[in-house]
Amino acid sequence: MLASFLEGWSIFRQNLLGKIGLVLLIIFALMAVCSYIPPWINPMYNPMTGVDPAITSCTPPSLRHWLGTDFMGRDILSQLLAGARIAFMVGISAAVMSIVLGVSIGMTAGYMGRFVDTLLMRLADMIMVMPTLLVVLLLSAVFGQLSIWTIVLIIALFRWPGVSRIIRGQTLSLKQRPFIEAAKVAGASHFRIIFVHIMPNVLPLAFLFMTFRVTSAIITEAALAFLGFGDPGTVSWGMMLQWVWKTGHMFQAPYWLLPPGICISLITLSFYMLGRAMDEVLDPRLRKEDQTD
């Protein structure tokens, strides 16, 4: 186990993109952690309700407010940090939920085969082609107000097809293995076989596959918030962009317009780079063959 991890790590280290991605990600994680600091220093730095007694409009960066203030006088930097926290929360929760769903469904499909398999995979196909953003838009019309958790759940509901395919493939090959036969002979129930015997072998793959594909969750939440369908009680980067756009400060406040967008783009980039690096670790065929060329 450890050997393969170290091997993977050395391959990873050689990948420049992966390294950059990792560094960026660490910076964002630090941002997320630091988001608790400003309100603790002074309640006026609270991203949502922070009121600076002296400032009630959009102001450029200053000593008191390193990135300036938004149209209500709230500190932009604390909003940015809080946004990092929300981004990680959304990304990781959506990833975890979709792993849970995708693994369960993938295993079930692969193991049960035939009708169940076809049904589930057709369902997966159908869901995979739907433009997630528009579906969540529709749902937000139906339910009026979506809390951030509802949004995460819905995003996860659209992400599981990707995982489930891989897991299904894996399950199919595992199904034939002797130890599964042995379990069947021993009288284990289907449920037990799936969750106790197959799952531990499938899980690492699922985890690695999904973890670095959280980006679409982050982007979807950002796009939703941008359009005005996010949770008005949370300060996410998309929400910040919506505020700058809708309150007419788009042309006047680059210090407000630029940071959230840069963050969203960079975090997407870093996950993407990490994802490609992880692909190389996982799939030997993709490794750079600069020795032979």
């Binding site: 433009p131 528009l134 339910f143 979807t220 359009l227 005005g228 783009s265 780079m273």
Partner: protein, 325 residues
């Protein structure tokens, strides 16, 4: 024979899926807590008025009845009236559809062409600076947040430099002028299209570039390339006439697969640039609880996605006999 059966099977699947979506959407909307009548905030609208309107709009009937009417209407081509415009939904969609098609297809074609072109070059110079530059460029542009990119472009090119209009599809000076001919109007539309097109292009070409690049790298390892080299053909000829066309095939499928992603992007672009298309109509109708219109817009988009996936699958199956099951 086999191909025909495959097509038939896929078409039936598409129809079933569409029907499922139809039903799910209907249930969703009827179950909705918000209704358009309560959105009409007006001290003049008394509760009797509101109740009368609800009856008129058919929102008081039992769900089963509404569902049957809904399905019946769908198949007879009645998509209802928009709650907000008061016009038949079909008219509104028909009005908006060409605008979306114009912008969307142009952007896809442009991104695909340029992406394939650059990807081909990148793969040829693999490992060198050109390659790294292009790959990084593609990665960075592909991960930019689309609405933000749109805002930045508007700010820089529309506001600061004033080179392009900051929104809309046409300017009424040109369209109202009775002397302006077709050419002038077409040019006006193209002028407005530059920024939204550029936004979509920037976001999408990167993906095609990367796919083309890796596809080319794979293709260049194939035997027939070796043969071509052995025959003494020029490198350029090998690249452009033998490798590229085959390498471009996965790009075709990826256009289809990433359609959902592109459609999201299209809706966002239309909203930011107030381009009067279906995506934007969907967003605004959703925020106003205008069910019939939102439903119809979504169905239109879903239909397009399903059909294009079908087309791509069939195309691929036609071109590559191995992919049929």
């Amino acid at each position: 024979m086999e191909l025909r059966r495959y097509i038939a099977r896929r078409m039936i699947q598409v129809i079933i899926i569409f029907f499922v979506i139809l039903t799910v959407l209907f249930l969703l909307f009827r179950w909705a807590p918000g209704d358009p009548v309560s959105m009409m905030v007006d001290p003049d609208m008394t509760q009797e008025d509101a109740e009368i309107l609800i009856v008129q709009l058919g929102l008081d009937q039992p769900i089963g009845v509404q569902y049957f009417i809904y399905i019946k209407n769908f198949f007879t081509g009645h998509f209802g009236f928009s709650f907000h415009y008061g016009e038949p939904v079909v008219d509104i969609i028909w009005n908006r559809l060409p605008n979306t098609i114009l912008l969307f297809t142009t952007s896809i074609i442009l991104s695909a062409f340029v992406g394939v072109f650059l990807g081909k070059i990148a793969s040829w110079h693999k490992g060198k600076k050109t390659d790294s530059l292009m790959t990084i460029g593609a990665l960075v542009t592909h991960t930019l947040f689309l609405p933000w990119l749109a805002l930045i472009l508007i700010w820089v090119f529309g506001y600061k430099f004033g080179w392009f209009p900051i929104n809309g599809m046409i300017s009424e000076e040109v369209w109202l002028d009775p002397e302006a001919g077709f050419i002038a109007r077409a040019i006006d539309v193209m002028y407005h299209m530059v920024l939204p097109l550029f936004t979509l292009f920037l976001i999408h070409f990167g993906a095609y570039l990367l796919i083309m690049r890796s596809s080319m790298l794979e293709t260049l390892k194939e035997d027939y390339i070796l043969t071509a080299r052995a025959k003494g053909l020029e490198e350029k000829v090998i690249r452009d006439h033998h490798a590229a066309p085959n390498a471009a095939l996965p790009v075709v499928t990826s256009v289809g697969l990433s359609l959902a992603f592109s459609i999201n992007g299209g809706a966002l672009t239309e909203t930011v640039f107030t381009w009067p298309g279906i995506g934007r109509e969907l967003v605004s109708s959703v925020s106003q609880n205008d069910y019939p219109l939102a439903l119809a817009c979504f169905l239109m988009i879903a239909g397009v996605v399903l059909v294009s996936n079908l087309v791509v699958d069939v195309l691929y199956a036609y071109l590559d006999p191995r992919i049929r099951y």
